[in-house]
Symmetry: C2
Amino acid sequence: MRRWNGWSEEGAVPRVPAAALRLLADAIGPGLPQRDARFEDVVAAVPESRLTDDPGLSTDPADRVRHARGQSLPDWIALRSGRLGWVPDAVARPATDDDVHRLYGRADRAGAIVIPYGGGTSVVGGVTPAAGEERPAITVATEALSGLRGVDEESGLATFGAGTVGPDVQAALAPHGLTLGHFPQSWERSTVGGWVAARSAGQQSIGFGRIEDLFAGGRLVAPAGTLVMPPHPASAAGPDLRQLILGSEGRFGIVTETILRTVPRPAHEAIPAWFLPDWPRALAAARAIARAGLPLSMARLSTPAETETFLALGGRPGRVRALRAWLRLRGIGPDPSLLLVAASGAEKLVELAVREVGSIIRRHGGTGVGGSLGRQWLRTRFRTPDLRDALWDAGYGVDTLETAADWPQIGELATTLPAAIAEAFEGDGERAHVFSHLSHLYPSGSSLYVTVTFRLADDPDRTLDRWRRMKAAASAAIVAGGGTISHQHGVGRDHAAYLAAEKGELGMAVLADVARRFDPDRRLNPGALLEEAGR
Amino acid sequence: MRRWNGWSEEGAVPRVPAAALRLLADAIGPGLPQRDARFEDVVAAVPESRLTDDPGLSTDPADRVRHARGQSLPDWIALRSGRLGWVPDAVARPATDDDVHRLYGRADRAGAIVIPYGGGTSVVGGVTPAAGEERPAITVATEALSGLRGVDEESGLATFGAGTVGPDVQAALAPHGLTLGHFPQSWERSTVGGWVAARSAGQQSIGFGRIEDLFAGGRLVAPAGTLVMPPHPASAAGPDLRQLILGSEGRFGIVTETILRTVPRPAHEAIPAWFLPDWPRALAAARAIARAGLPLSMARLSTPAETETFLALGGRPGRVRALRAWLRLRGIGPDPSLLLVAASGAEKLVELAVREVGSIIRRHGGTGVGGSLGRQWLRTRFRTPDLRDALWDAGYGVDTLETAADWPQIGELATTLPAAIAEAFEGDGERAHVFSHLSHLYPSGSSLYVTVTFRLADDPDRTLDRWRRMKAAASAAIVAGGGTISHQHGVGRDHAAYLAAEKGELGMAVLADVARRFDPDRRLNPGALLEEAGR
């Protein structure tokens, strides 16, 4: 069972390698472990539900606590300290579209707000209303809207209930020889409906496609009615309404069913690792790879700071020393960049793609180190979030944030964004360990994914202040640098104030109009995506 | 100079090969040539403009006639017969965003409607209001909003004025070693703004991307303000507003500037041709190719009927007989299907893709015939629309229509759609020559492109009736068969009545809300995309 106040399974917090903790202590000082609130105490303090008259709604305080927060850093501070501030009055578990419609009727009669809740993995404040929301609240868990409902094997279209989590998607497709190829880091817990609502990207999305490429159609159930999106392979029949639902973050309705484009499971997959001699040449190589038109499913370039951290987390200091020595002999170092590339598909195509990447890398002074680092990454790719629990226990907060921009801008942002983050902590006399990678290389630019580790303060409010300053500085740097406020995490409440910078005033008005059409009484997920005027 | 009442250049109507005319006469009877109205007479009959008080507007009758119609069959009937019915009161040629804003002010004062006009190549009634529109009309030619405005060579982002036509895009990118790779059949005359507004696909879009993949951002100038769309490579920051502008067909505003994603010009391109023994095996091979994950830029599969016509149009009966004999020796015939495949990119990648296609084809009983048919197609790909003029002169009308659907549905539609079209003519005691191809193969389905040739009636109104019956039958068959009402031509006025079948009532209401936000007084392109309630 998943722990109530973090990411990992109950009792399964991993050990942080000693080398990594030393690196962190040297960089930003020793962690300050904080005492967690006890689940029982938090549950006991939950206020009485205002929606007790409906046997179809769960008003169990433990259930409500478990659906009160997502996985953002403010969520963690609230959960670990036990100061939740807000819990929903009830949890609903609709199993059909009709259940959802009835639920809206129920909310209407109670004057309640409705918050869709898939895996609860939002890291941007996607499932908790803004402070000041006083209406009763029903959180709608989509877990009963799950499972494979049909496969069109000719087209590879697979219909899933929107509450299906990643591993269940993959398991249901396996007997058909199909894969979705969508692996966001939250994959084990997040749902297809959540992927659609938050416009998610997976680790191998440059090959298999982002969720906007994979979501062929489906159904959105809104207070105003149901939107059925047919899964045409392509269309010129007016604006694409799917693209309005993708990223709607529960403001327009609840995605109940998704028709997903799947492909034959790749016959072959290779994830070779390469080292580039320094960041400028690494960036140039990444750009050249992105523009070479090669069939890759992933390309992930770590900055020198992340490369060092990645090697330290491998937990084998002897091997790392040997690797560094080997690289130095080849003129690579002292601050190399690690590039992981994945190619997935027919064997010859994979081989050709890897060969072409190799020749680009060599032209930029880099070298290959084979498949073991790629295998390490593949083995641990869904385990790294567990480290967040381990580091918290050691007294460190970890947050991630990300953006995407064109090539010239991303080159700048890779410098200015970490600098702005580090500077934000200096005001508090603190340091932060900041590292980043380009996680998705596109022909016209790249995403930039930043991990921030900092020391917890001795008081949750001070930790929250520390985070807020950092988040504001980072978001301002992203906007100033021409990046999007999110490449893969979504908007939620934490990014809502920055959305107008890229949508414009007229664009924001359009989104508000659309929300009003789907949800005339504004019950759905208030404050997410669109800030509430006058609340 | 382009002729005023058709497609080809003045005086450049091609000859239809005798074999093709014989084939047509045998199939549907001899053509009934009609006499065209003279341009001078039509111009002389144009009613006086109601907008003569503005020196910034052209009210020249010849100019107005040349901007009154697009390229749909009803447009042709109107132009050839000289019964235009409607002409705009003025033609505007804004050169800046400010000019467009001023134009809206001018329209406001005059109570006029505003019709954006790129290349005027709409084949679905995109530039002419519905009968009964009585407000003064300003048609906005975008030709002065044209040209390359900047290239970010690192990202391959090229900024073009929206009135730039295809050849000018290609010519401007060539010195940078870049290509857009977007080749709709209207390429020589259509504009980037038109591609965006009508959500166009190019012949090689499965490789280079449809316009929705290529349109990274830009500006839309609407009566309510300007929407600036930043060209982020990807984003999870809420719904994608670009995707709302793509396919908006001038209802939301005028696209004035587009930022396009270009790629290095492919080092290599191959367009081998293959023959499949019969339609069922051809369809199965196409599906297998589409799902094999190969880097192709085109795959175009002709039905046996289209294959026969394509060979007849080549105009070399001796060579065709030899080819047929050669195919029969290999067990292919009597009704083979022609498949053209293009691969574009690095030489080794192209070779590999072609090899893999070959092995799929052979598994389905087909054989390759080398590159000469592909070269013929490439040489003539922008000339085939000229044949429409030649056939009209010979007394035949030609129309094309298209859809896209999932694999099981497209297999059905490839039979039911031509049958419905043929049947529609039978009511009039006429026959039609109908042939089709799958023009874009997607992993989950395909487009289906149908060409219809029929005899003109001895009266333009009867020809129009004939066409209307055909169009209604075809559209009904597409909707019944689960296809989209358009894969690449758009909606215009001819498809507007069928849009609700795929968008739903709630979806149509959303689109109307968005139109109202951008264009509160409903001046823009009334009747296109969204039918006007109560008009």
